[in-house]
Point group: C2
Chain length 129, copies 2
């Protein structure tokens, strides 16, 4: 079965994160996208997201490796919800699996772009409530 | 702190589900909204969603009680991702808590409406992969 264009974008983003190719990485985000850097800390917009990923790469000692272990996409018109099992490993921490939640939107010129990137899923609720 | 308009809509939806007031319930959905009835079974559009909720009410022997135990909203422009802990109880099953995931969109005339309703969250991935 052909891969959904959003799945291809997520694969591209993972490769870009792992290669620290931040210009390619931010190409998949919409102008006003929101990234949950960690529970309680969000950044908005492509430039802030790029800075956050540069900091994240340093935090993980340039050894971050992100892959998807499962993906489900629910579409409604120009909006799609992505539920993913994301595997994260790095030299300085034990490997972990996150239940990531992304929202993509389809734009007339640019196709699908990520508008909300929350790789922590429901762990946000543990932080805030 | 004032409640987010989406939180008010979700409370309204819960009350409508519990009261089996399906006309009020489908008012919070967009025309082309997607509802995950159960993992592997989705319905699209207000009329199909109404029919699904009528069937769900019968399945739970008209004793369904839905409440939110926690809610986090991430907004990007006209799109919002909602992560909720949803408590579901009924006479014919033990109470359970679901990690629900909703997407709302803001429309010029109608305000916020639900476009994707997935009360199963990442449980979908257990079903499909």
């Amino acid at each position: 079965m052909a891969q959904h264009p959003i799945e291809l974008l997520i694969n591209k983003a993972d490769s870009a994160i792992n290669a620290e190719d931040f210009d390619t990485l931010i190409d998949i985000y919409a102008e006003n996208a929101v990234l949950v850097v960690k529970p309680g800390m969000n950044v908005i917009g492509k430039e802030q997201i790029k800075k956050a990923f540069i900091a994240i790469a340093a935090y993980f000692e340039h050894s971050l490796d992100v892959t998807q272990a499962g993906l489900e996409i629910l579409e409604s018109g120009d909006t799609a919800l992505v539920l993913a099992k994301t595997k994260v490993s790095a030299n300085n921490q034990p490997p972990l699996e996150r239940k990531a939640t992304y929202v993509f939107q389809h734009f007339a010129q640019k196709g699908w772009l990520c508008v909300i990137d929350n790789s922590y899923g429901h762990d946000l609720l543990e932080h805030t409530q």
